[in-house]
Amino acid sequence: MATIKIPEQKVILCGEYGVGKSSIFRRFTNNTFVTATDRKSTLGLDHYSKTYRVCDRDLKLQLWDTGGMERVASITSSYYKFAEAAVLVFALDNPASFHVLSQHLLDIVTYAENAKIFLCGNKADLLSDVPQITDSEIEAFCEQCHNLITGTYKTSCKTGEGIEEMFTDIAYQLVQSNRSRLELQSMEQHGFKITPTEEIPEDSCLC
């Protein structure tokens, strides 16, 4: 049990199936990459916390993966609850995954209205000479969203390029914007988590 409570910020990954959300998650957790888009490898990915040090203070980013629910059904609204940041992910080699982002953006502002939103173009390693999605298209998208997007990044999970930089920057942005709120944050305002306690007598009881 930690003695000092480090502020924990929930960060969620959003975007189409197959753009590499789980790969980003895997890079974040143990810096590995799996080539085959083997569904099995997504199993068990839930959320993972990592501490970042920004401006002399610790901040824990708790990254959440969708669990693959977006494949055929919609993601539960619960997924968005309590999120402080959302990363909109698209694949740089897949224009469709980019053009559908407004739908995901709508979900974020509906269910996680306080979340800061970041844009991430993944699979930068697959970029050909003629880009499928140009920088000006990305800029135009950000403008259309009334500047709801706090930052944009290009990453490659295959090479690991840009991933750590992205999360470091997200942590920085969250600290900047939440400076006062983090200080005010008290457990009183929110509810509490149920934690297992005194489970031993339960098991020894015959009832």
Binding site: G44, K50, M69, G191, I194, E199, C205, C207
Partner: protein, 443 residues
């Protein structure tokens, strides 16, 4: 959809979602389908408020209700017992990490036209206005007996065999009067009617223990309520199922449950697609010909701009009206949650009055509950049938859950789920199969 699964689960109500999660965790290949566009079925929380109004055919809410999106109104009101089955399931499955809870502030019981705090320990028993002086001491002795009672230690039974003697005999042993029996059985042991008096006392003793153990966990009251409403619960279990490989499909109508040899289920058809499976788990609405009506439940959702009188302005509370107090056979339950649970706009409260229907005029039946609330801004009444399966599903391999009953907690819900799981898989759920460390690592 055209694949083969170990189990297909129909409906995303709480029971089905828990089952889906448990099956996926146990290594089964699960397809989970709902005909609705949203998760939760009957156990969903309705958001935004406009949707609730239109669901009940009411004109849209005016601006005094604040932002519609700030509302998450449950259709079926229930609280979690802090030490109850659902909390154990949440902890063992790790689903608790998706949720935040608040303690319900007060637990009250109705007697002679007014409400009193439910006394649970010796101190409260002596201070309670529910009983006279001598009765208080008898009740106190009863509470001490229950507290010291250990099922595995017959010495603590004090010359009383709780396995054979009924609860009435135990009340008589302590000389408790009808009044005290009433609130003990209904507000502490949470029985809906008086049938328990004739059953072995052990059941009631354990229920009172559950109440006081739950109270001991977070203070104030034995009840917990999740932030953003009860609809978060099925979603949490759905995520668990998905993480363990369950496939989800919403907005998918089910046209037929396909049977094979010997009336055994072989698949589920939607339009021209057929998903093959060995088993089906579903709620009664998917199999109307395999369930029978057991009774009816009346529920009234009340939107209010004030707390309930005489509850010390509690922002959440439960009031139980024992059947005898109002000349009925089943209790009336009142529950209240508010904006502090993110289920209503700032300053608003959501109360729910519910009971098992006994007459042709259910609306009149809940009047004693409504009268306690004071002024109500908007009222939505619904009467729903309560179904149970006609068989145990072993022959057809179609396992059907019971409809949600009028109780205000999830104990019966969990018992039904664990029972279905056991029938379906032939074994008790093995909690050790869940890998706790997933994502739970603190580094």
């Amino acid at each position: 959809m055209d694949e083969e699964y170990d189990a297909i689960v129909l409906g995303t109500g709480l029971k089905e979602c828990i089952l889906s999660g448990m099956l996926s965790v146990s290594g089964k290949k699960v397809l989970h389908v709902d005909r609705n566009k949203y998760y939760g079925g009957e156990s969903a929380s309705i958001c935004p408020l406009e949707e609730l109004f239109s669901k009940f055919g009411a004109p849209a809410p005016d601006e005094s209700y604040g932002r519609g999106r700030d509302w998450n109104v449950d259709l079926i009101p229930k609280f979690l017992m802090a030490n109850g089955q659902l909390v154990k399931l949440l902890i063992h499955t790790g689903v608790t990490r998706y949720l935040e809870f608040k303690s319900v502030e007060g637990s009250y019981v109705y007697k002679g036209g007014k409400i009193s705090k439910v006394p649970v320990d010796q101190k409260e028993a002596l201070a309670s206005d529910l009983m006279g002086m001598f009765e208080k001491r008898r009740f106190r002795n009863f509470l001490i007996y229950v507290q010291d009672f250990q099922q595995e230690d017959p010495k603590t039974w004090k010359d009383f065999d709780p396995n054979t003697a009924d609860m009435q005999a135990l009340y008589d042993k302590f000389g408790l009067d009808k009044n005290t029996q009433d609130f003990t059985g209904h507000a502490l042991a949470l029985f809906r009617d008086d049938d328990y008096l004739k059953r072995p006392a052990l059941e009631t003793i354990n229920r009172i223990k559950l109440y006081s153990d739950s109270l001991a966990r977070y203070g104030k009251s034995p009840y917990l309520y999740p932030m953003y409403g009860l609809g978060e619960l099925p979603q949490g279990f759905a995520r668990l199922s998905a993480i363990y490989g369950g496939t989800y499909m919403l907005d998918k109508p089910i046209d037929e449950i396909v049977l094979g040899e010997g009336g055994r289920v072989v698949g589920v058809r939607s339009g021209t697609e057929v998903a093959k499976c060995k088993q089906v788990y579903c709620d009664p609405t998917y199999v109307p010909d395999r369930v029978r009506k057991k009774g009816r439940v009346v529920r009234c959702i009340c939107l209010m701009d004030h707390p309930i009188a005489n509850t010390k302005d509690a922002l959440s509370t439960q009031i139980i009206i024992p059947q005898k107090q109002v000349g009925r056979n089943s209790d009336i339950y009142v529950s209240l949650v508010s904006y502090t649970h993110q289920v209503a706009a700032k300053g608003w409260f959501v109360a729910m009055v519910s009971t098992t229907v006994e007459t042709d005029n259910p609306e009149i039946e809940i009047k004693p509950g409504l009268d306690l609330l004071g002024s109500i801004r908007q009222k939505f009444i619904s009467v729903s049938d309560y179904y149970e399966p006609t068989d145990d599903g072993l022959q057809s391999q179609i396992f059907i859950s019971q409809s949600y009953d009028a109780t205000t907690h999830f104990e019966t819900t969990c018992l039904d789920v664990l029972d279905i799981f056991k029938r379906g898989t032939g074994e008790e759920f093995d909690f050790s199969k869940i890998k706790h460390e997933l994502g739970d690592e603190e580094q």
